[in-house]
């Protein structure tokens, strides 16, 4: 049975009509027109769907709409006033990713991590990225980009 839910995404309240158990991902993509969170597995195993809810990286493919509390940030809303987020800027400069299908997950996870702890060590960064998948094998450039972003955000 579909119900109406109000969720706050990228700074705006939105009305979403769905079954309570529908994962947030489908609301973001099909009802709010977001492109950043992507379907990869539907099992919280790859991270392509990652959004930030109240500062924490969350897999939107398994988060039921009814359980969404707090402010949701997506890749689409990460840049402010047309200015890329420092993490996005670093990913652009390093040309991190190849096909870029997974990249939103890495960017959102890294953003949540660095906004909490911009002085994260290399080991903390690698640990914080556990579970994220990149099939193109671009981990070297992604790690360079996150280190670059960390330097920028810590300064």
């Amino acid at each position: 049975m579909k119900k109406t839910f109000t969720i706050n995404v990228d700074g705006h309240d939105h009305s979403v009509s769905s079954e309570p158990t529908m994962p947030l991902l489908y609301a973001l993509r099909n009802q709010l027109g977001k492109k950043g969170p992507r379907f990869g597995c539907g099992l919280a195993q790859c991270g392509a769907c990652t959004v930030i809810i109240d500062g924490t990286a969350v897999r939107s493919c398994v988060m039921p709409v009814v359980a969404v509390k707090g402010k949701v940030r997506t890749l689409d809303g990460l840049s402010a006033d047309g200015e890329p987020h420092p993490v996005q800027q670093a990913f652009i400069e390093e040309e991190a990713g190849q096909c870029e299908y997974c990249i939103g997950g890495w960017i959102m996870t890294a953003t949540a991590l660095l906004e909490k702890n911009p002085k994260a060590s290399d080991e903390e960064i690698r640990d914080g990225l556990a579970g994220l998948k990149c099939r193109c094998g671009t981990h070297m450039a992604i790690l360079r980009a996150i280190r670059r972003a960390a330097t920028e955000m810590a300064s």
């Binding site: 492109k35 990869g40 096909c99």
Partner: protein, 773 residues
Amino acid sequence: MSGGHEMQTRNDEFTIARRDLLKGTAALIIAVSVPSIAFRGAEARTATRTLNPAQLDSWLAIAEDGGVTCYWGKMDMGQGVDTAVAQIVAEELDIDVDIVDVVAGDSALCVDQGGASGSSGVNRSGAAFRQAAAEARLVLFETAAEKLEVPIDKLAAADGVIRVNGNTSKSVSYAELVAERLFNAPITWNGRYGNSLTLEGRATPKDPKDYKVVGTSVRRKDIAGKILGTTEFLHDVKVPGMLHGRIVRPGAAGARVKHVDKASVADFPGVQVVVEEDFIGVVAPDEWDAIQAARKLKVEWDTSDIGFPTTSEELHDWIRGAEPGKSAVEDDIGDVDTAIADAARTLTVEYEWPFQSHARMAGAASLADVRDGEVVVWTDSQKPYDTGKGAKALLETPIGNRRRNKPRYSARSIWKPGPGSYGRSDAGDGAMDAVLLSEAIGAPVRVQWMRHEGHAWDPKGPASVITCRAGIDGDGTVTAYHFHTKGFSRSDQNSRENAPSEVLAGHLVGHASSPDWRMQTPAESYRFPNKRYSWDALAPLRIQASPLRTAHFRDPYGPEVHFASESFIDEMAFTTETDPLAFRLARVTDPRDADVLQAAADLAGWEPHATPRRRREANGNFVGQGIAYAQRNGSVNAVVAEVEVDPKTGRVWVRRMFVGADHGLIINPFTLDRTIEGNLLQATSRTLFEEVKFTREMVTTDDWVSYPILEAADAPLEIRIEKINRPELDPRGAGEPTTRVAPPAIANAFFDATGVRLRRVPFTPDRVKAALG
């Protein structure tokens, strides 16, 4: 014919009333690059004319503001190949690369250059665009000479403006010269569509020594939009009336549909169930409804003929005992059998490689609209031209008495970026699913494979057992070398989804599969007095609709074959108490091969050693270095891997990689580095983690837990690359060649570290612990 589309299929060529086509479907134009100029290129093509490879206008357009659009019949998978094409065009035309836009892979706008294939994006399609751009420049200069009334040799161009030498008052821009937006100039082509398409003209392209844009690190044109989340991927395409489709798969390979209880999903609003023979799909307006209905649909399966004659555990023994379907000897120098029989010592070992999954970030997706005699398919397939042809063939081809008197279709395929592509993935299969559902429903249907389909039902890289034999004489010289692959063909499914026999949906509705026999032997320049390369190809474990059907997976058979061949080169070196680098350098006959070997060794600080060193860190972990090299279609690479092996956990970590890389002429050093890194890490993942497992009924590795891949914690600390530029050669392609060198380099490093040889991929912790005792 419907609406404003006047589309006739004539051989492989479309004749299109372009003004109408573009007027009606402007939103479909692909913007690969900077949004502000992306649309201009499409406008520049609104004239009504043929998409004809023999016309310059089919390749390039110049807009009123001077922006140049390339209509490219390949596509980029994130390695910056479109940017490289833009660089080549900017170079020949003497314009800023920022104003060059690349429209990719729309069968209505771009000549078929074969799609992404065999690392040929830069070398083959780049060569065609170099010629097209040089020809365009010549035509522009000739027109300018007439207009300015000066001899052509008095003209020079910069930034899209042609000036008269020594006379600053006289100039004309490219944009002004093609005011009617058409070159109206012929160009000669070789009459062959696809990878082999070449262009010739009157113009001579620039001498590479004069290059200013080619060879520089221009940034990937697509990157910002994808990082900022503004680029439209295939998955974001929505059209009016679009419905969501999901496919229902059996739990056992080969299970056939006995009965479908459509009423079991009647509760879902607007749901429709499509059944044709063994193909079952569920379609609904709401995506979540479609997902749930596909899970809930009650299907009775006929399991009288299911599964495989073996399991992943017994697979390699099964391969050893199997009767080959086809055998061949590809190289045979001297008399290997006699030399081995006469040798003082012999060395015989076997190497095993499992089936591996493409396992893209998301399973197949596609949007298809089959209505009124027209099929339009949006796809991320790297062979979109074949997706369109395949859709048409699937719709029109009778199966026995079924599917007779179906309408004829015109087909258009539109490529959009998706979750990577490393060969013949599931993309073409998903597209045909969408085509069948749209045909049945009469509305546009978007299909998304779920994770279990992407892992369990996608095409696989082939499994093999490779046997290597060497004869060694009394003074330790290798006199004979025999390399023999026995395994599954690399293409049960063609690399092009252009026929119903080549796609899963085709099999499910009743078209017979037609597996091909294709194998691979090592690509190197080693000289041995007696040397033979041979193979036995096996028929598929299951012919129809098999989740183990093989198809090209990045560097088809490259990792499998070179894991064995370059491991065995090491084994021959150590058996004859020779340093593995010295052993190779003494036998390679192509100087480019020696150069990359030396470059990788120098970067790594290679120390000669004729026995494994078994070095240990303070924490007790073993550390070692190994080297490997291979050629591929004119590229050649060597890599030294440095691995750390934890004997307690069995974890193998590739800490560093040092690469000597020769890909001919370098177009873009920055993106080349990243392309090499991607090759190495994906291949490292395949070496350490990846194995498709299956029971006698079904593939059981159907998600990222059962089929793990390399993660951030497994990434090396450092990859250093020495790129050898060869301006005297063409660019030779970099999308695959460094994939094949990583597995043997890792295996050889493991041997140096531990003194133990791993001959079965993947090097999982359990196997490592077992090997180390």
